[in-house]
Symmetry: C2
Subunit: 189 residues, 2 copies
């Protein structure tokens, strides 16, 4: 169960509500994990019941009240134990790869369209992560920040996110080029 640990890790940077967490774990932002709002609300409830996080009610005017959560000592101990345990290997599991695997036997036009869209999404994420990195490091250089800054955890995971999306984009672009060229040379003349 890694979602709970992802939540604990995210809450290390400060108190967050379920809603804010949901934003952070959303498609557009998540650089180290992804989860849906429903999952997060459920997980927060469980974590609180087990005493790994604690929430405090914040009364708001002109907004619904919210609950801000922080990690307890027990929660930190849980994270510690999780980190000490062996990590399970990570895999790519991507619809697009399955489709490309079958590329010769299926209609490539639809596939190229999807690759194009994916490349655009990847580029958007690269930009987003880029500005996030800049915000995290402030006016320091990357090396400077990584040597002496605090909160390098989010920075390091974000670096991974950028690299992943760049590779993603580049692969899409190249695959598109390959498929397009073959489509032309195989087309009836």
């Amino acid at each position: 169960m890694a979602l709970r640990h992802a939540v604990l890790a995210a809450l290390l940077d400060g108190e967050l509500s379920g809603y804010q967490l949901a934003k952070a774990f959303d498609v557009g932002v998540a650089n180290f994990w992804y989860a849906q709002p429903q999952q997060l609300y459920a997980e927060l409830t469980r974590l609180e019941k087990e005493g790994l996080v604690a929430g405090r009610e914040v009364v708001q005017e002109s907004r619904p009240n919210k609950r801000l959560f922080h990690v307890t000592d027990a929660g930190l101990a849980e994270l510690e134990a999780f980190t000490a345990a062996a990590a399970k290997p990570a895999f790519i599991r991507d619809d697009l790869l399955v489709k490309v695997q079958a590329a010769e036997r299926v209609d490539t036009a639809a596939l190229v369209a999807q690759l194009t869209e994916r490349a655009q999404v990847a580029q958007a994420k690269i930009d987003l992560f880029g500005s996030l990195l800049h915000r995290l490091r402030g006016d320091r250089t990357e090396d400077e920040f990584l040597r002496h800054g605090d909160r390098i955890g989010p920075y390091l995971t974000c670096l991974r996110g950028v690299a992943f999306e760049q590779e993603n984009r580049d692969w899409c672009v190249r695959t598109i080029a390959v498929l397009e060229e073959r489509r032309q040379s195989h087309a009836p003349h």
Copy 2:
């Protein structure tokens, strides 16, 4: 349900038994999807029941008999439909990233050990995929093969696998360096 499509895509390259499929979808080999043997046997049973694949019994001496499966016309149509449908976005979901996200608050020694192991695993996969690519393209150059070869699907997905693992390895190495240096400069003198 993308596993079924991954199985269909894998079977496009020729008849395979459940056991052989399991090998192909195993940790060490899978370049476009991962699945456990149990999943595959169950999926093959379902696919056969639905007529998307067909199997034939192969009697063996000195080995248990096996069933070799191939994709039917209905199966190909299903793949076609799957490819035409929009792909859902892919995410990284990796224990290691969660751990690095929390790096400043937990014991880094165990973390560095895990990053080291991951880097080694990644390197092993790079080597494996590299030789797989070479086998696929034969004595042609990559460009030559991608322009005129057949079975470029597996080649393209394998390229993605290589890039992913390289990035994986490089990130691990860099993260280790950062964590180690900080450990020294923060250690009591």
